[in-house]
Homo-oligomer: 151 residues x 4
Amino acid sequence: MTDVTPDRVTAAYAALLTGDRAKITEYWSEDVRFHAPGQHRFAGWHEGLDSFLEYMTGVYVASGGSWRTDVLHSIIDGEHSVELVKVHAVRAGAKPDSTSPFDVLDITGAQVMRWEDGKVVEGTAGYFGDGATNANQWWSPVGPDGVRRDT
Amino acid sequence: MTDVTPDRVTAAYAALLTGDRAKITEYWSEDVRFHAPGQHRFAGWHEGLDSFLEYMTGVYVASGGSWRTDVLHSIIDGEHSVELVKVHAVRAGAKPDSTSPFDVLDITGAQVMRWEDGKVVEGTAGYFGDGATNANQWWSPVGPDGVRRDT
Amino acid sequence: MTDVTPDRVTAAYAALLTGDRAKITEYWSEDVRFHAPGQHRFAGWHEGLDSFLEYMTGVYVASGGSWRTDVLHSIIDGEHSVELVKVHAVRAGAKPDSTSPFDVLDITGAQVMRWEDGKVVEGTAGYFGDGATNANQWWSPVGPDGVRRDT
Amino acid sequence: MTDVTPDRVTAAYAALLTGDRAKITEYWSEDVRFHAPGQHRFAGWHEGLDSFLEYMTGVYVASGGSWRTDVLHSIIDGEHSVELVKVHAVRAGAKPDSTSPFDVLDITGAQVMRWEDGKVVEGTAGYFGDGATNANQWWSPVGPDGVRRDT
């Protein structure tokens, strides 16, 4: 049995960014279920690693690679971990000085994971404050002036 | 010059439902711009008839053909018309007795059109009450239980 | 009978700003019903002039007098008028350079009025684009950093 | 030093319901800060126990005493606890068979607490799925038909 530790949590998040499936499956089960909050195009239950990675690819494309999840603190107890995270991302193609919530995602929240045999099998997230609105706007196909985006 | 009349407004809405482009372009300019309100996947400015009809096709598919726009009243003055509309639609695949706002769209609002030479060249809409939220939820890929939809 | 005209519409909006009830009741019925869109503290049906004016007072206080409704265009037909409006307001106490939607309301929409004997007896509004979200955030008791406001 | 334990977490939640300040302050610091998510009238940072209890009173009044927070699981690590909670509440005055999100709050989420000397000093919450929208609607002064509530 593999214990959940802060290092293992950090490594799991880092693996996602590599895009290397062999690396990713060291930490994420092929059968992982993940629930993205909100109403946006990746919201809801992603069933299985393929669906989850499709969401991660979407994150990369929409943000032009700028998406950053900082784990501020890990709270670990038995098979559960909770990461207090800060997420910052700017929409690909946004004006550099934009402060619009349609361009800039700047939220904090809690990601709750359940682990089995050292791998994440289930996850969900909740955003603090009014972060849910920021996420819905950021993910929408609409830019600050109501123009539809290419990505 | 073709005057805007209640009959012409009614005919313009009816033409959309035929899917017959020759019929549609009697009432809608090839260069029509239409702004769908909200954050959902068809929100924002649709530039040109092709983009607008793509939205109309999306309406048809997502609702399984159940989408119904009733024009309650037309207010016409010069080149502008405003339709007070009631929209009702049920998501394809919804349980027949569902009352969830993710399944059932039931809103009223105002559609504002500008006409030139008897054809709509620009339109936008605003929903009354909390209809914007209902529309965002209905259009989201998430069903009442957080399960992602096929359509 | 008093016809609805663009001048009368303009005068009705201007009367609201005077705070002078005798002036206001030249254009607004004592029995006016007005539906403010959204989820915020003044959302929903205001029944009667007292409730409507309470909302107008709330507008004044929350905006520190900065609320401005510009009527871009009036569309008038029989007993109905529709005003295409642009609303701009900054929350009292906001930092001067704030661009946060919690501080700055910047929306367009349609206000639909029904008139009898030259007075508004019923009104409702719908916001274009994602204005409903801006209005809900602006009216919330939360500032840009999640701090609760005094007003 | 008092360790945070599942029993202590359960007791802290139970104390809130007693309305007995002596009991409450066994578990909640006089200086507690709590951040309620969303845009609604109790959203944002509540600074100090008085503000937090005002929120709790609001919960009681708006729900006519029906508000129920079930702690599904506690995750505890050092000075932090995270409660996975299910909240169910019906608005006072709602029709008994209402399924409207304006009447029925039915959400899950994570409440994150920081403890010092056995007392909660800081807390925040994030809702899973589209719970943020349900909470904003439930707390709004608007009922299912757009009628403003008395409470």
